[in-house]
Structures are given as structure tokens and as C-alpha cells.
Symmetry: C2
Subunit: 160 residues, 2 copies
DNA sequence: CATATTTAAGATAAAATACTCTTAAATATT
DNA sequence: AATATTTAAGAGTATTTTATCTTAAATATG
């Protein structure tokens, strides 16, 4: 039972969301790990969730998904955790985003119409296809390691 | 009460959504109107909703919002409808998208962190800020009229 | 003036997304 | 073997987004 004022208010405050929360949290966690450069060790999810101020259970689930998709490996029990299966130098942002958001992440119509560009491109298609391709290229050529060079405190918004 | 299979299944099929449904429907409707070039007349919302296969009430609400924000004008009663207040040649995509999705549409952090670039840019910032700027420039320099040149049947996915 | 038409406004409902909680499985330590 | 630690799996809840429904206001027409 929400008033229209609130309803419209919410609509006014919509933000451009290129990737979902899932993608945001996943990327932040992976960059956090990449920045540590402890490729051989496992990271504790609870600690990571506290430092990044992300719900522990939610983050666990997201990382679980990345493990199932072969980007990460996990180890249960004391001193267990989550770690890279392939070094962050070899993981592109495109790989991460496609794992988190879906394989066809870079193939969707700007207007949400089905089958972008296949037969009947929408009026936005030429306009959008070029931009999207640039986006894709950037994501394909940037690795997690490329982004892990800056100090953590300044750039990942750690909790404290 | 949903199974994890479905839960993960849904997560697998997420799509890149640069603009929300609101934005998609709004843009499609405005392009439909721009393509007709009947600048002086009012368009019937029900007919438009049928042709574009968008819920009538939902589309009404979206267009209502654009009217309230000064992009469109409406007229009630028989032969009433919705029409441009300024000609589509003068309406940029940026204007539309900002009206539909929020003013700071082109200023959000890719990772959803607050205050993009203001004090503590995230690791994605340099990478993202440039792409976002290109996106913004394209949206700022493209008008509704620019996109209304192609035939409607082929490009707006009219219902039938 | 009565009636039909059309958008405006508000409330409600459904679906999707985001998040939390509980229990199970694996592993190390004692 | 018993216990503590840590991720995996599944179920459940909350919030946001999307869509529908109902009633009101404005306007034209007979
Ligand atoms: S069909 Fe719409 S962007 Fe390709
Ligand atoms: S701070 Fe993250 S993109 Fe600018």
C-alpha cells in the first residue's frame, strides 16, 4: 500500500544499472582478491564480506556461482575459503560479467526487443550496436589484474 | 517457494539492461510518434499500446510522466490523446532517458558505489568513465527525429 | 444536460530481484 | 572420535520493478 508520490518518487531516482547487484558484488569481490595477489591461498568469505560491506550469505551465493562456472575454486573447513582457479591476469571482465549476468550480455537490444539485429533491427540498432561493441571490446581486453593495481582502501570502498 | 534450480536458472538468464522497461516502452512510443510526423495531432494511447504491444495502462502511466516533465502534452476527451510539446527534432535521446530513468543516468558508478568519481573513484572508474561519456555524447547528439526515418513495420515490432 | 470518450490519478497485484536464514557437507584440529 | 570451522545447498523473506485495475476529471457530441 504505497502512495503514488512514493511510486513516482522511486521512478525519478532510477539509476543506470548496466550490471545487476550480483555483478557489482561479484566484480568487487574478485577485484579485492586480485588486488591481494595471494593467488595460491584461499580467501575467507566472511572476512571479505565484512571488508566489502556485502551480506555474507549473498556474497557466498555469488561466489558459489562463479565456482560452479569454473572461475573460482573453493575449499571447505578451517582455513578454507575461495580462490582463483586461473590467475587474475587471465580473467577478463567480459568473462566475469558473462558468468554473472548471462552469456548474451553483449547481444541485447537497447529497447529489449527479441533477436537484436538478426532480422529486424530496431531504430536504435546501428546507434547501439557500435557503442555496445566498444563496451564489449573494453571488457574483453581488460583483466581483473589490470584493475587490481590501485590501493584497496581508496578504491573498493572497504567498510573501515 | 521456488527451487534453487529455478533460482539459478533465472540468474543465468539475466540480460544487460541499460534502460528499464519504463525507458524501453517510453522510447518506443516516442519513436513511433516521431515516425508519424503528425506533430500537430494527438495520438491515441490505446491504439498506440495495441500497435506496440505494450500494456495500455502501463504506457499511459509512462506517457503521463513525460507530460508532467514537459516533453509531451495531453488532451482528454474524444479525439484526445498525447502529442509532442516540442518537435521531435529538438528532443534528444538523453533528454528522454533522463526524464524516464533519472537525471543522473549518465553519472553512475559501474559498481553501484556512491558518488562516482567525486572523491574515491573505484577501480572501474577510468575504464568506465570514458565509455559512459561516449554513450552520453551519442545520446546527447541524437534526436527522436533522427531515428524516425525507417519504416515502422520493420523496426518497431508492431503487433500485426 | 446526458452520455460517450479519453487521459489522470490512485490503489492493488504479480513478477523479478535482492537478501536472509537454516541445514548439510567437507575439512582441520584436538 | 568429537568438535569447530568453513563453504554448499536449499528454502524462505523482503524489496523493487512491472503490470493491472478502479475511479476521477476533462472534453466533445448529441
Ligand atoms: S535490435 Fe534494438 S539494438 Fe539491436
Ligand atoms: S566510481 Fe565506479 S565508475 Fe566511477
Amino acid at each position: 500500500m504505497e502512495s503514488l508520490v512514493m511510486y513516482l518518487c522511486r521512478q525519478n531516482t532510477l539509476k543506470m544499472r548496466v550490471i545487476s547487484r550480483l555483478g557489482e558484488y561479484g566484480l568487487r569481490a574478485l577485484m579485492y582478491m586480485a588486488a591481494q595477489k595471494n593467488e595460491s591461498t584461499y580467501f575467507n568469505i566472511r572476512l571479505m564480506s565484512q571488508e566489502l560491506d556485502i551480506s555474507f550469505h549473498f556474497l557466498t551465493k555469488i561466489l558459489q556461482g562463479l565456482t560452479q562456472r569454473g572461475l573460482l575454486q573453493s575449499y571447505r573447513g578451517p582455513h578454507g575459503g575461495i580462490g582463483f582457479l586461473v590467475p587474475p591476469e587471465q580473467i577478463t571482465l567480459a568473462t566475469v560479467v558473462k558468468a554473472l549476468e548471462g552469456e548474451d550480455f553483449f547481444h541485447n537490444c537497447l529497447l529489449g526487443l527479441p533477436g537484436c539485429g538478426e532480422r529486424q533491427p530496431c531504430p536504435m540498432h546501428v546507434f547501439w550496436a557500435e557503442l555496445r561493441e566498444r563496451l564489449r571490446t573494453e571488457f574483453e581486453t581488460t583483466t581483473l589484474a589490470d584493475l587490481g593495481t590501485q590501493t584497496l582502501e581508496q578504491h573498493l570502498r572497504l567498510k573501515a
